[in-house]
Amino acid sequence: MSDLLPLAILLTSLGVAPVILALPDHWSRLRTALNLGAATIKVALVAWLSMAVASGADFGVGIAIAPGLSLELQADALSVLFLALSSVLWLLTTIYAVGYLEGGTDRSRFFGFFSLCVASTVGIAMAGNLFTFLVFFELLTLATWPLVVHRGSAEAHRAGRIYLIYTLGGGLALTLGTIWLYALAGDVPFTPRGVLGDLPETHRASVTAIFVLLIAGVGVKAALVPLHGWLPVSMVAPAPVSALLHAVAVVKSGAYGIMRIVYDVYGVDTVQALGLALPLAALAALTILWGSIRALRQDDLKKRLAYSTVSQVSYITLGVALISPLAAIGGLAHLIHQGIMKITLFLAAGNFAEARGVKTVSAMDGMGRLMPGTTLAFTIGALGMIGIPPLAGFVSKWYLGAGGLDVGQPAVIALLAGSSLLNAAYFLPILQRAWFRPPPEDVVPKRGIGWMLVAPPAVTAALVVAAGLLANAPFSPLGWTRFIVSLEYL
């Protein structure tokens, strides 16, 4: 059984998806039961898996597709990190989505594709080789598209079209890169410290070209600067979608992809030998600043958060690109921290929109008084993003800074400081409006929101605080990333 654990984790959501898709819309109790059941089982299985992986066991199950091609699922330390993030947050977001979509149309379709998305995210996490990664990467695009256009309005479809163009374009680049690599190197399993052997010497030009293609393909989802256009546009999607997918699942799979490519396909020293680390770091830095600057001017709350995601995800890319164990720890930890912080913000933003119809920053006056719980969660998330110490953001920024110095790039510290300032510049005004402005007189509660909408952001906010405070605990995200990096960099 132990070897089939990855498959079981994958099937908990992959198997449930078609069943939910087939359910008629008004069977909401059964659908919710299925959803929540699958989510809790998955979290339990992931917990068991992480315990096992921590004690050194490794898992692998695969089927051969064609001569030289096989779908492999494996669970190593890095995949458990991403697995934990996506499974826990999926449980919370499912609860939120059930509350959020009360009385909406096409709910079976929504939840069907929702669990399909998570299945593909889990698949991406547990991919054993580049081919499997590509398969689930594309599956993610297909599964997220109907969610982006879920509202069915013209604007949603415009966003859907843009989203599809970007992600399919990226998918094609990734496919070309992967096929080219397979043509040169045969099967490309993910093995710590790379698997290219002597290829970089013999085929230097094509290996570099492949790297560019792979990073471009994955970079679309990691929202690196020139390829980030789809993220703010797809904010038209309902709140749970933008929360789980555009802040956690899709964007993180892009960053995770970059990690896998740099660590497990090329290997850290090959990337450095090819001189590709610096441009990638520069691109990440550019994205960090660009995202924050654009976020300053967005009045729409979700768009501002979207641009902040664009900037924050590039911390991870920066951590990976700075070839140093400390930066790697920072980057990997930020994968988790940014996830829980950003989902708090998006869920809170969803509550504001749902309960009070507040969608823009200028309308946030006095929200602290009207919705204290959600605004507190939003504040914790925002402060975490800025990097205020007791919260999670500080820990990853601390390690990123240390990593930058370790590589002899003090500019990283300046970058981190600058971006913290920018983060403060676009988050603090919101907090100031929410807490220190009297609410407008004519506000009328649009819809009383139940516990299903309030609880998830509160829980994730608690996670943010815990991840920051208990950073040094063995099972905290930081502890786990140290365990991973020890494998990668030894």
Binding site: I388, P389, W398, R437, L470
Partner: protein
């Protein structure tokens, strides 16, 4: 004495804060606010200093310890927080947004106490950030336009300071390789790291070029908050500097000169700008800037002559404690003034207020005198090069403070009473005044002072009184009134949108007749700030010239500017 675990010091306020979130517990917790810091006080006063505690799983491995440097700081900070909390309870009894105020206050209290006992970089920085961010809440409490403007300026400086401190700390911790706070003062820490850390802390200290937020914040915040802001939080900056600067190890002439220049600028500028303000709390704020610059001067001296550090350290601590109590007494006095109608009650209060004012001015037989004397003796040991100038600087400081005190008392005397302020606001103020009076006896081992020094202490006060009387006569004769200056002298120029006329907490005394600057017939809007601006740039240029030339070239002919002082 009972052994208080060291980690309890920041934990009690935090626990109260968490309890505060539960609505049903709120009234009970609110009344506990003044008692929260007492855990810190007990820890500080406990005879066997509580053992250091190391918690590995918290943040990046936190460590708490009551160092002998931190002990006095914790003591006076805790006392001050509890009295301010007590008065805040009374003052804001029927303010609808008081819960938010108390939440911010608890967080600031936890941050302030926490950073004094934190021994590792991450938790120090965490408590430091918590303190400055939550005090932003205190500044914004009034929710008026002035509060918003002050808040924006405050948070801008605070965040910039924090980010710079973060950069410095990470550079230092990387260089030394370990995360303990003490290590940041180590020899192998690069100069850039120390400079960055110092800059971050100087913002909190309120040193001159970075002081612009201080008067604004103090004027805008409610009185108890201002008391805590200037009394306890500024001292946190000093405490930080004392831990990160390599004091007592080797001479740092360059840094010492810069720090001295900043201090001198502050000493001279603070009184000038303070006098122009109509709001007593702003005047008191400027006096805090002056006092903090004095302490910075002490640090500069220690940097220049490391040998003198063992003498200067206790003096600085004493000076800090004395300034904390005196300034808090004055700030807590303001609501008392509002609560008492004009007449005999107010004059009694004014007399009682005169005590801390005089202490601040260095009146002999008050804690101020002892503190200044201690500083003088400490500085003597380092008499070389520009240190010679310290003597006149101390004199100027006392003179400036005295003038400011007089101005403040005059303003307070004329302040209109506010009916809605409860009478029992004065109790905490009385307690604080008691502490000020008992100051010299509380100090465990007062430095020895000779009688002669006592006389020379009196001189500045006498000169100040004379000057004040002279100016008053001249003004009354020419029927001129001093036009008050809008707060945030430089920043008010850059206000983007025409801020609505800031509604000051205290309306300036309206008097017919001519302003200092005769208004021309053309409806030119009065520009008193331009005058002040000129003074500002002159003083800064002087200070910079002083710094660049450095100690070995002092004997050249000074620039003419300094003679006119």
């Amino acid at each position: 004495m009972i052994a208080v675990p060291i980690w309890l010091v920041p934990a009690v306020p935090l626990a109260l804060l968490v309890a505060f979130c539960v609505p049903v517990l709120r009234p009970g917790v609110r009344s506990l606010v003044p008692i929260a810091p007492l855990a810190g006080l007990l820890a500080a006063l406990a005879d066997p200093v509580p053992a250091p505690a190391r918690i590995d799983w918290l943040m990046l491995g936190t460590e708490f310890a009551m160092t002998d440097l931190g002990r006095p700081f914790v003591a006076f900070t805790a006392a001050l927080w509890s009295l301010a909390g007590w008065q805040a309870l009374r003052l804001l009894r029927d303010d609808p947004a008081r819960d938010r105020f108390f939440a911010c206050m608890l967080m600031a209290m936890a941050g302030n106490l926490g950073l004094l006992v934190a021994q590792d970089i991450a938790s120090f920085y965490a408590f430091f950030a918590a303190m400055s961010l939550s005090s932003w809440g205190l500044v914004l409490h009034g929710m008026g336009a002035a509060q918003r403007f002050a808040g924006r300026v405050y948070i801008g400086f605070a965040i910039a300071g924090e980010v710079v401190l973060f950069a410095g700390l990470s550079l230092a911790s990387f260089a030394t390789g370990d995360t303990r706070l003490a290590a940041t003062a180590g020899p192998e820490v690069p100069a850039l790291a120390t400079a960055l850390m110092a800059a971050g802390l100087l913002v909190k200290l309120g040193a001159v070029p970075l002081h612009l937020w201080l008067p604004l914040a103090h004027a805008a915040a409610p009185a108890p908050a201002s008391a805590v802001l200037s009394g306890a939080m500024l001292k946190a900056g000093l405490f930080g500097l004392m831990t990160i600067l390599p004091l007592g190890t080797e001479a740092e002439p360059g840094a010492a000169a810069t720090l001295a220049a900043i201090a001198l600028a502050g000493l001279i500028l603070a009184p000038c700008l303070g006098l122009l303000h109509g709001d007593p709390k702003a005047v008191l704020a400027y006096s805090s800037v002056g006092q903090m610059s004095l302490m910075a001067l002490g640090l500069a001296a220690a940097l220049a002559a490391p040998a003198a550090w063992p003498a200067i350290a206790p003096a600085l601590v004493l000076l800090a404690a004395h300034h904390a109590f005196a300034k808090a007494a004055l700030f807590l006095g303001v609501p008392t003034i509002w609560a008492t109608a004009r007449g005999p009650a107010r004059s009694a209060v004014l007399v009682l207020l005169a005590l801390p004012a005089l202490a601040l001015a260095g009146m002999p037989a008050t804690s101020g005198a002892t503190a200044k004397a201690a500083l003088k003796t400490g500085l003597d040991g380092a008499a070389d090069g520009w240190l010679v100038w310290l003597e006149p600087a101390l004199f100027a400081a006392s003179l400036g403070t005295a003038l400011l005190m007089i101005r403040a008392l005059i303003l307070l005397a004329g302040a209109a009473p506010k009916p809605d302020v409860a009478a029992d606001v004065s109790l905490p103020w009385l307690a604080m005044s008691g502490l000020v009076v008992a100051g010299p006896w509380l100090v465990p081992d007062p430095p020895v002072t000779d009688a002669a020094a006592g006389l020379s202490d009196l001189a500045p006060i006498v000169v100040a009184v004379a000057l004040a009387v002279g100016v008053a006569v001249v003004l009354r004769g020419a029927r001129l009134s001093v036009a008050t200056m809008p707060p945030g002298e430089v920043l008010s120029l850059v206000a983007r949108r025409p801020e609505p006329e800031p509604v000051l907490a205290l309306s300036a005394p309206v008097r017919r007749g001519h302003a200092l600057v005769v208004r021309r017939s053309r409806p030119l809007t009065p520009r008193p700030e331009r005058g002040a601006l000129a003074i500002l740039f002159v003083a800064a240029a002087l200070a910079f010239a002083m710094a660049v030339t450095g100690p070995e070239t002092t004997h050249e002919p000074e620039t003419p500017m300094s003679d006119t002082l």
